[in-house]
Every structure is written in C-alpha cells, then in structure tokens.
C-alpha cells in the first residue's frame, strides 16, 4: 500500500539545547510538489531527516497515511522513501554501477543490476562513466548518481535536498522533467532548494522555514498536466522568498 499523504504535526527537534525545529505542522499530499525554502540553518535539512525516519523528533508526530490507515512499520516505510541528501552516500572505491547495484540489493530491488543500468541511462551517465570508481566523478556526475540512487526502488515519497547543485543546464532540465513525471504519477515530493528558477512552474505548495519555525505556507491547486498555468512562477517564489528572508 503506497503512502498517500504525510502529516507532520507540531514537530520539534532539539540537539542538546539548540532548537532546530520549533513546532512545525505541515501536510504533504500525493501528486504535489512542495518547495521548502528558507535561509541556512532554518531547519530544512532537519525536517527532511525526520521525514526520512533517520532523525527522531524530540516531540510531535509524523503520520504516513495510506488508504487503509497509517504506515508504522519502519522497514516498510523506508522502502517507500527516496532521499537525496547533501552527501552522495556513494563509496568512492566502487563504480557508479556497483554502488547502485549494492543499494538495490539492500532495498530488495528485483534484478538490481538491470534496474541500476536503466536508471543510469535515465540520468545520462554513459557506459564509460558508470564503470569508473565514483571517486573520479565530478560534482555533477555524483549528483546524478545520487539522484539515481534516490529513485532506485521507485519510492512513493521523494525527499530532495538541493537536488540542482552541481547540475548543468541539461542535467537540471532532465531533473525537472523527472520531477514533473513523479508528480504526474502521484508521488509525494518535497524539495529543499535555493534554485527558485529550476522549480518554478512545478511547485504548487510553498513552505518557508525560518529559525525552526514555519513562517509562510501557500498552496495553489494545479490542474494535472498544466504545469505552466497555475503553480508558482519564478516571480511568485522570489517574492515569497525575499519577503521572509530579506
């Protein structure tokens, strides 16, 4: 059963006496892309960590809702979550293909190697690149590999932290296409980014965090397949962002 929505209620996270998140409540829905904006240290990565089940909230709840109740089993949950973080999670000594095949095995992906090959095609890492150790990759290649890893097990929930870093123009536009596809197929998408231009048009839900608090939230319903019409434009996003971060 796939996850239909995530509801975050009054979540706080402290590290010792430093408060990274202070009572954040949020609803994330299938088929919607939520842009999580905010200055550095606002708690965006912490929120992503909590949603990915890696970080335990100090208080508050996160409910992962399926059609027939909440998903509570952590293993079943992690099978449905795909994460792209700051670090690549890649072993430098292994090739791109080996890295993906390894993670495929951990996720119990059938035909892990074939699936890895298919994803490497999608992220446009050519035959030569995928058989080279990951430590020889450029920042952009590593980012594309990490993206392939996040999509490897076909997750319902995609949590992406600055996915556009290091990508060139073509890479960024193919990522944007991938995001549009995922949205179309009713995934839950949460994207942390400073690159407002890249996600303009795709975004239909904007959340701004500042010093651990949710300071702005806005939704615009968007007709399926009409990305250009309703969602937030670059101008909209810029206005919202500057309004809160100065």
């Amino acid at each position: 059963m796939s996850i239909r929505s995530i509801s975050v209620s009054n979540v706080t996270k402290r590290y010792g006496l430093h408060r990274a998140l202070a009572g954040v409540s949020l609803e994330l829905d299938a088929g919607s892309l939520c842009a999580l904006l905010g200055p550095n240290g606002a708690g965006k990565s912490t929120l992503l960590g909590i949603l990915s089940t890696l970080v335990r909230a100090s208080s508050g709840q996160v409910a992962y809702r399926r059609d027939d109740g909440d998903e509570r089993d952590p293993l079943a949950l992690r099978r449905q979550i795909g994460v792209l973080a700051h670090s690549s999670f890649m072993y430098g000594e292994l090739t791109g293909l080996e890295n993906l095949a390894f993670y495929g095995q951990l996720y119990g992906v059938a035909e892990a190697r074939a699936r890895a090959q298919a994803l490497l095609d999608d992220v446009e890492l050519d035959e030569r690149a995928r058989n080279r150790p990951a430590r020889t990759y450029s920042r952009g290649m590593l980012q594309r590999l990490a993206l392939a890893r996040a999509l490897l097990h076909d997750p319902t929930v995609l949590l992406l932290d600055e996915p556009f870093t290091g990508l060139d123009r073509t890479g960024a536009s193919s990522l944007a296409n991938a995001l549009a596809d995922a949205k179309q197929s009713e995934r839950i998408l949460l994207v942390v980014t400073h690159d407002l231009e890249a996600i303009a048009g795709l975004t239909d839900h904007v959340v701004v965090l500042k010093r651990g608090k949710l300071v702005h939230e806005d939704r615009r319903s968007q007709a399926v397949g009409r990305a250009d019409e309703l969602g937030f434009s670059y101008e909209d996003l810029k206005t919202i962002y500057h309004q809160h971060t100065g």
């Binding site: 293993l75 979550i81 670090s87 292994l94 080996e98």
Partner: protein, 233 residues
C-alpha cells in the same frame, strides 16, 4: 532470506572496497609486523633467542592492536560521503548492517593473521604449525569474537568525536577473556617447544578453544539482542 542477502551485500561491499584500495590490509599488517619487531627488542635474550613463554603474548598483542586499527578505519570509511546514513535509510534492520560489517572486519583480521602468524613462527622460531588444526580453530574463533564485540562498540562510537581514543577504552576490558584464551591456547600448543621429549598440551588447547566458542556465542547473542536499541538515534 532477505536478511541474509542484506548481510552478504554489506559484507561483500566492504571486501570489495578494501580489495580495491587495500589500505586497511596494508596498514594493519605493517602495524602488526612492527609490534612483533618492537617486542623482539624487549624479549630477545642475550643468547639471541626468545623465551617460548612470551611468544603467544607477542602474537596476540599484535593481533589485538592491529585489529583495533582496522576496526576504526572500516567504520570511519562509512563517514566519508556519509554512507552510513545511506545504509541506515535502507529498509534493512540495523542488525543486518552490523553483521555485514562484522563479517568484513573478521575477514580483514584473518588475512592479517595469515601473514603475522607465520612471521611469528619464523622470527621467533616457534613451531606454531606443529598442530595446525587447533591453531586454525583458535585463530578463527578469536577473530569472530573480536569482530563482533569490536563492531558493536565501533558502531556506537561512530557519532562520537573522541572515538579514536574511546574505542580501546571500551573494547579491551571486554576482550580480556578472549585474549587470555587465545594466548593460553597458543601457549599450550607451544608447550615444551625445543624439548624433543615434551609434548604439546592439546587438552589445554582444546579447553581454551571451547572457552572461545562459549565467549563467541555469549557475545553474539548479547550483540544481536541489544544492538538495535544501542544505536538508535
């Protein structure tokens, strides 16, 4: 079934990474050899021989010290590119990751032993291979126990800043029975070495082998039982 394939995936990944760089194996072996040499300064007598009684101790100190080196490095590797988080995000139990790492480390230590044990035999003239079967059993059982206990603590220390100094502090007190058993079992094999009429004390050796097996079982059970709760963030 899935559990076992995940354990194998993690272990195989560690071995593959290591066979590409060989960093851990080279540094561990070098360090173990160095420990042997340093001990020779202390224990080689004026006649140019080493008292047979101290040879097992030299061997096991070399194994224990170099093992710690490999242990820290194998877990430190998971901090580069934050791969430990990548592992923890996967839908497999922490116990599977732990067992996979422990198997990888056990393999590294065994490989180092394959070099260091003959080296001890040659350098100190110890007839270690007169009883090869008990010797191999001793080495394997001690290595398993070492890797299991070591992996528990190295995993727990992963997020601690002073992990390099704290690993020996937490590890060695727990390893004491294992090191005693390893040393005494090896000593039993060398009993009366150099004296043609004397025979090795095989009963004592097998007693310590059984002790090592019990030690391994107790700590594997304890580790499996507590690991999940010990490493939760």
């Amino acid at each position: 079934m899935e559990f076992l394939s995940q354990v194998a995936a993690v272990a195989w990944k560690d071995l593959r990474v290591e066979f590409r760089s060989r960093e851990i194996l080279y540094t561990m072996t070098f360090f173990a050899a160095m420990v042997l040499l340093i001990f020779s300064f202390a224990f080689v007598t004026r006649e140019g021989v080493v008292l047979p009684d101290v040879i097992p101790g030299i061997l096991w100190v070399a194994v224990a010290f170099s093992g710690t080196l490999g242990l820290s490095r194998a877990f430190d590797r998971e901090r580069e590119s934050d791969t430990m988080r990548g592992l923890l995000l996967a839908p497999c139990s922490r116990t599977a990751i732990f067992l996979g790492k422990a198997i990888g480390i056990a393999t590294f230590i065994l490989i180092v032993e394959i070099v260091v044990v003959p080296m001890t035999a040659v350098l100190f003239g110890a007839p270690l291979f007169d009883h090869a079967v008990p010797l191999v059993l001793i080495l394997i059982l001690a290595t398993i126990g070492y890797s299991v206990v070591g992996s528990v603590f190295a995993a727990m220390l992963l997020r601690t800043r002073s992990r390099d100094v704290l690993l020996p502090v937490v590890l060695y007190p727990i390893l004491v029975p294992l090191l005693i058993a390893g040393t005494k079992a090896t000593a039993a094999l060398l009993e009366g070495a150099g004296d043609p009429t004397a025979v090795a004390d095989l009963d004592a050796a097998y007693f310590w082998i059984k002790f090592l097996a019990v030690y391994d079982m107790i700590f594997i059970a304890t580790a499996l039982w507590t690991f999940e709760s010990l490493v939760i963030e």
